[in-house]
């Protein structure tokens, strides 16, 4: 095997890390061009990830393998065929996720200038970007790597900086939410390390590709083979991985932390956390381990996972939607909606079929774009009017027509109105569950769409169709704030552009599904290999 990798696989996370440390210095020495330099950096990385994505797509095997550093002997493999050292192995799905991460990261980095100056204080922007870049470095590293411990390090880099970012505004609420988030996140991380240890002790390697071969050997071994004894380790490892990633992706019993942490974070960070973090560190890794490493689709383990996952997924979907209806705070409602959407993704995974996984990945793409859009719009509303409650949204459509239109597009996509992107992924999931003979899942999908409609239409309805006399006067603090900043255009350009771009993305993904499916289908094929 020849090293087919691209240096970009290393450069993307490394350049994020470097810019993280340069950021406060730049802010100190080059404050005037800071607003230009940061988007330049993130934009350049975005372009780089686009190039990487293209390279991965055009590679014949569907992935790139890059060996960083050097080996003394020049050998990359032991005599037994076991790879030595860390390998960065990026498949199509990983590259797609990196593209999303760097893309949303680019938009959020533009959005944050004005927003963070409003939420925290202007002097701390330099440090904010340090943390943001560290988080981006961690998140983009996870899908790029092919090593079990390496992904854990990236995951922790992302997690730790996200704890700090949730606490960034420094208010009581954000500190408390950050602490809770950190406790739950740490439990999840420890379970994952434990699982890595078990996997290592069973297979003797940290290389995912090689480990998957050994796992196949172990789980298919006959009872009289010495390898048979290692099956227990594999099962325990699967269990711990599943629990760990479920905590990270906020599946049902372990969902509470998300509803606390995501709403109180600055809105730009809420968008990153809800849009990307739980996917890069949760669902992505779940898919990576279930399929690439443990080979669940090959039927080694029978059907033991599907019923458990389906119960969890349905509970997550319905529970998340019901909790969202009960919320009074807009961002908290969005956070519960995220939980419900994670349930959709889990439905697609738990079917263990190609069609289901395609639906899940499509939903990951959609939800990333849509939820980022919704959180950024919610942030824009807070920035401009100070309104955080759903009640205060009355007639917001007339005060901030652009923002609310984009919000409405996102909301409609979440509800699943055709031809927006959310409809397409729900269609894919519904079709996959019918094909897998689970017609009741379609009922769950449709029922939860109705529940989504209840809470999203309430917001959109209040914003556009509420009586004129009620909208004013009920929210005093909002009024006071509003009068202060009413002058001028609706939003600063740096905040409006990311929102518009994301809204256009929501529509485009719906209308241009064919090119996207042309990426997702081979991505799933690589995962199912």
């Amino acid at each position: 095997m020849q090293s087919s990798g691209s240096h970009l696989q290393v450069l993307i996370p490394v350049s994020y890390i470097l810019s993280a440390f340069i950021s406060p210095l730049l802010y100190k020495w080059a404050r005037k061009c800071y607003n230009v330099l940061i988007p330049l950096i993130t934009g350049a990385i975005f372009i780089a990830s686009g190039v990487l994505f293209y390279k991965v797509l055009s590679s014949p095997v569907g992935f790139l393998e890059y060996f960083p550093g050097f080996s003394w002997s020049g050998e990359r493999f032991l005599a037994t065929g076991q790879p030595i050292g860390i390998v960065l192995r990026t498949d199509i799905f990983g590259a797609l996720l990196v593209l999303l991460i760097t893309g949303v990261g680019f938009l959020v980095s533009i959005y944050s200038f004005r927003y963070i100056a409003h939420e925290a204080s202007e002097e701390r922007i330099g440090y904010y970007y340090t943390l943001l870049f560290l988080m981006l470095a961690g998140m983009s590293g996870v899908p790029l790597t092919g090593d079990c411990f390496n992904f854990y390090v990236f995951l922790e880099v992302a997690s730790i900086s996200s704890y700090a970012l949730v606490a960034f505004p420094g208010k009581e609420q954000s500190l408390e939410a950050a602490f809770k988030y950190m406790l739950v996140g740490a439990i999840g991380s420890i379970l994952i390390v434990f699982a890595i240890g078990l996997l290592f002790s069973a297979t003797g390697t940290l290389n995912m590709a090689y480990a998957s071969q050994q796992v196949a050997k172990i789980v298919t071994s006959s009872p009289d083979s010495p390898l048979y004894n290692y099956r227990h380790l594999i099962f325990a490892s699967v269990g711990l991985f599943v629990i760990g990633f479920s905590i990270k992706s906020a599946f049902f019993p372990a969902h509470a932390w998300l509803a606390d942490a995501h709403p109180v974070a600055p809105s730009s960070i809420s968008a990153m956390l809800s849009g990307l973090m739980i996917k890069a560190t949760g669902v992505f890794l779940l898919i990576r381990f279930l399929f690439t490493v443990f080979g669940f689709h090959k039927g080694y383990y029978g059907q033991m996972l599907t019923p458990v996952f389906l119960v969890v997924a349905v509970a997550t979907v319905i529970g998340g939607s019901l909790f969202a209806i009960a919320q009074t705070n807009l961002k908290r409602m969005l956070a519960y909606s995220t939980i419900a959407q994670m349930g959709y993704i889990l439905i697609g995974i738990s079917l263990l079929t190609k069609a289901g996984l395609e639906g899940s990945i499509l939903h990951i793409v959609n939800h990333t774009i849509t939820k980022s859009l919704l959180f950024l719009s919610a942030g824009a509303i807070i920035y401009k009017t100070g309104v955080k409650d759903i009640k205060g949204m009355a007639r917001m459509g007339y005060r901030m027509p652009l923002t609310m239109s984009c919000f409405a597009i996102g909301a409609f996509s979440m509800v699943g109105l055709p031809p927006l992107s959310g409809f397409m992924s729900k269609w894919a999931l519904a079709e996959a569950s019918l094909e897998a003979n689970f017609p009741l899942l379609v009922v769950v999908l449709l029922a939860s769409s109705l529940l989504n409609a209840v809470y999203y239409f309430r917001v959109v309805g209040l914003a556009f169709f509420s009586p004129a006399q009620q909208g004013t006067g009920t929210n005093n603090s909002a009024q006071a704030h509003n009068s202060a900043s009413e002058s001028g255009s609706e939003l600063p350009l740096t905040m409006a552009i990311p929102i518009i771009v994301l809204a256009a993305g929501v529509i485009l993904v719906g209308l241009q599904l064919n090119p996207i499916m042309k990426v997702i289908k081979p991505a799933v094929a690589v995962l199912f290999r």
Binding site: L417, P418, P419, M424, W427, A428, A430, E431, L434, E435, P439, V442, V443, L446, A447, S449, L450, A453, F457, G461, F464, F465, S466, P467, A468, G510, L511, L513, N514, I516, M517
Partner: protein, 498 residues
């Protein structure tokens, strides 16, 4: 065909323009609103020969991955399209008169125009998904119109409306997904039914029918899915007319017909005995809606129950799978629309000019509003099925069709219902012509107390549709020409009607 497709999308452009114009230029807006339906009507009339000859191509405008947005025009589309665009001309002009001086007019007219585009989309849809897309769009575009007056009650009705819309949409979507899986992704409408459906299991096919029944049943107001329709009466009268006569319920019927003839196909539909299964709720709706109408005291509510009653006539006729009855059903859509729009416009004129909403308050109104009351009488008698006004012909066809397939009990449902209809449609007329004027007027009374008759831009559409109701009954052949073509296309038989 490009012209016809433009009738789907130009309304959206116009709607955007209307919003951008805002309150600044009322005249320009009114001109745009008036031109739009004419443009569409000309599209259908100019292409009618080509459509009847089956010469228009199928055009795919977008490929959305799982499905395409595809348009084509068949005779049924021609029939509905001509009807809808023709009546839309009156809706537009009546709206402009009726809504003068109301609030939020840009929103109102933009929604109205989006409704037009969505309706065109439904009519021209060549596959289930395209139909669903525009069907839902129509549903959402009606919402701002339903809550237009923005009172507490209006918002409550709006919630009920949305609830039914979304639940119906979900069932419809489930049905479409099921069809998609059963037919392996080929959901294009074909005369005679979609290939591959016949291979599905009985359970799958019956649940498919059930999904479609609820999905389209909401808009065609099959009991007990009719609840939203009387509630939506809270909307301004032109919108009630739009809901009842022009677009919304007709699209429910259209979907129903497409489901019977293009999704299942007559052969499979009959083989599964779905015709009988569908006849049961339709008969129940006919009788119960008529009985419910007897107990209603508001004019518009009365008309709402009458609509529910009449819609199931059409469903029954279409479900019979007999050429004669199906023809009667198609023509009945046309006649019912014309007559119901007459009724709503006269009721709306009465409400707008005198503020009277109850039947009893109509006492002695005929002297003050002779034209309006005459129009109301024409519409009411026509709905009840009195010759020579239009309604009786289509009913006659349906009854004859039922007798020919040996179902006299279906014919008897028609007879019973017609008798009850006379029972609830005559009181307003009797009150208007023979009741005593009590001299009590509500707050909305016109300043010049003795002259109630409406301004010309409302009166002319009213008079025209009333005259149409009569002329259709005497010598209107266009619905029959189009209807014959549609029946021949969908049932694959030759029909001789004259």
């Amino acid at each position: 065909m490009l012209y016809l497709i433009s009738t789907v999308f130009i309304p959206f452009v116009i709607a955007l323009t209307v919003i951008l114009i805002g309150e600044r230029n009322d005249k320009l807006r009114n001109v745009l609103i008036m031109i739009m339906p004419f443009y569409n009507l000309i599209g259908f009339l100019a292409n009618s020969a080509a459509i009847l000859a089956g010469k228009l191509p199928v055009v795919t405008i977008a490929d959305l991955g799982f499905f395409t947005i595809t348009f084509r025009a068949d005779p049924l589309a021609l029939l509905m399209g001509t009807l809808v665009t023709f009546l839309w001309v009156f809706t537009s002009s009546y709206s402009i008169g009726y809504m003068q001086g109301e609030h939020a007019l840009p929103r109102y007219f933009a929604s109205l125009t989006v409704c037009l585009g969505a309706t065109m989309g439904i009519i021209l849809a060549a596959n289930l998904f395209t139909l669903f897309l525009f069907y839902e769009m129509l549903g959402f575009a009606v919402y701002p119109l339903v809550i237009h007056i923005e009172t507490e009650e209006a918002f409550k009705s709006g919630v009920v409306y949305l609830l039914f819309l979304l639940v119906g949409g979900s069932f419809l979507l489930f049905g479409i997904i099921l069809t998609y899986v059963l037919t392996k992704g080929n959901i294009t409408f074909v005369p005679g039914g979609m290939a591959g459906l016949a291979d599905g299991s009985q359970l799958a096919l019956y649940s498919l029918f059930f999904m479609f029944l609820i999905g389209f049943g909401v808009k065609s107001a099959i009991m007990p899915l009719h609840v939203w329709l009387p509630r939506a009466m809270i909307a301004p009268t032109p919108i009630s007319a739009l809901l009842h006569a022009v677009a919304v319920v007709n699209m429910g019927l259209y979907g129903m017909i497409r489901m019977i003839y293009n999704v299942f196909g007559p052969a499979l539909f009959g083989k599964l005995h779905l015709d009988i299964i569908l006849a049961v709720p339709a008969c129940i709706t006919i009788i119960f809606a008529a009985i419910a109408a007897l107990r209603v005291d508001k004019i518009k509510r009365l008309l709402a129950y009458s609509t529910i009653n009449q819609l199931s006539y059409v469903i029954l006729g279409a479900a019979s799978l007999h050429a004669m009855a199906f023809m009667g059903a198609l023509v009945h859509i046309v006649y019912h629309s014309v007559m119901k729009i007459t009724l709503f416009y006269s009721a709306g004129t009465i409400i707008k000019q005198t503020g009277k909403v109850k039947i009893k308050e109509m006492s002695g109104l005929a002297k003050k509003m002779p034209v309006t009351c005459a129009a109301f009488t024409v519409g009411a008698l026509g709905i009840a099925g009195l010759p020579p006004i239009a309604g009786w012909i289509s009913k006659w066809y349906m009854v004859e069709g039922f007798l020919k397939i040996g179902n006299p009990w279906l014919a008897s449902v028609y007879i019973i219902s017609s008798i009850i209809e006379i029972g609830f449609l005559t009181p307003p007329i009797l009150y208007a012509y023979f009741g005593k004027d009590e001299g009590k007027h509500s707050a909305k009374a016109h300043p010049a107390d003795s002259k109630y008759e409406a301004p010309l831009d409302m009166l002319i559409p009213l008079a025209v549709v009333a005259i149409l109701s009569i002329t259709f009954g005497l010598f209107g052949s266009l619905p029959f020409v189009y209807g014959t073509a549609a029946v021949e296309n969908l049932l694959a038989t030759t029909v001789t009607v004259w």
